[in-house]
């Protein structure tokens, strides 16, 4: 096991990564942001990393209402 890498992400990096992870799995990023904001973590296991990134944003971040 190699040493762990730690990433400290800015708000824009978090948003960009959610978009990347969503598209990679064939989901519309806006849908993932909306689902998270509504507490509807559908496709739970597949999309958990993206939802986890969403949780790093403030609840009132504009990306959740776009």
């Amino acid at each position: 096991m190699r040493p762990t890498k730690t990433y400290t992400l800015t708000r824009d990096e978090v948003v960009d990564l959610v978009r990347f992870k969503s598209l990679e799995k064939g989901h519309d990023p806006a849908e993932i942001f909306r689902n998270f904001a509504a507490g509807d973590w559908r496709h739970f296991s597949q999309m958990l990393e993206a939802y986890g990134l969403c949780a790093m944003l403030p609840k009132d971040d504009p990306v959740f209402s776009e």
């Binding site: 096991m1 762990t4 730690t6 559908r42 990393e49 790093m56």
Partner: protein
């Protein structure tokens, strides 16, 4: 590192104990201790020497963290195992601000799979502190991919892999024991060493769940 004796693992076991204490002490350092704990737990047990995990945290806050398998931020989240297969791991953690800033899981998934990044999964455990809104499965549950031998036991059009077997606290230690003892994944440390370590820490890990 491929030592063969129990004594050669003593420093790893001591570091694991220290990291375990640190993750449960709470506060801002808890996530770093948790990351260290996970790394050492897998190093002691079923992780391939080239496997890796990464910790993600937001610059604006230090109370939410993500831990996943792999080093590449845009890559997959699987940990390569000694047996040549993979464990996909994603954990979301935060500090419980109402209860002494204790570290806790918000959500967790671990999945044993044949290949690094496909649907060749064997079993998966999911945990969500909040209910998943589209259904009402138990907070912690286990999925198993397979086909029942008896016909007609499942609801129409429901594959066995979508059945939620209740599993209250799917700890990482439980994953390690399942892989090693039931699926024959080789371990790095001798049985008596890693088994004692897992026994020491698993009950304590339950504190990261439904509190």
């Amino acid at each position: 590192m491929t030592p063969f004796s129990a004594s050669s693992w003593s420093s790893t076991v001591a570091s694991l104990r220290k990291a375990s204490d640190g993750r449960l002490a709470g506060g801002r350092e808890a996530a770093a201790h948790f990351e260290r704990y996970v790394n050492l737990l897998f190093r002691l047990t079923v992780a391939h020497r080239d496997s890796a995990i990464r910790l993600l945290r937001p610059a604006a806050s230090s109370s939410v963290w993500g831990l996943t398998g792999g080093h590449d931020m845009r890559g997959g989240s699987a940990i390569r195992l000694t047996g040549g297969r993979y464990l996909r791991l994603i954990a979301l953690l935060d500090l419980d601000l109402r209860a002494g800033r204790n570290l806790r899981f918000q959500a967790l998934t671990w999945q044993y799979q044949h290949a690094i990044d496909d649907d060749s999964w064997v079993f998966r455990a999911d945990y969500s502190r909040s209910r998943i809104a589209t259904a009402s499965p138990p907070r912690g549950h286990l999925h198993v991919d397979g086909t029942p031998r008896q016909p007609g036991v499942l609801r129409p059009k429901q594959p066995l892999g979508r059945v939620h077997f209740p599993c209250r606290q799917p700890t990482l230690e439980a994953a390690v024991v399942l892989l090693a003892d039931e699926f024959g994944v080789p371990t790095n440390a001798p049985h008596e060493v890693w088994r004692a370590a897992v026994a020491e820490h698993e009950a304590r890990s339950a504190r990261l769940f439904d509190l």
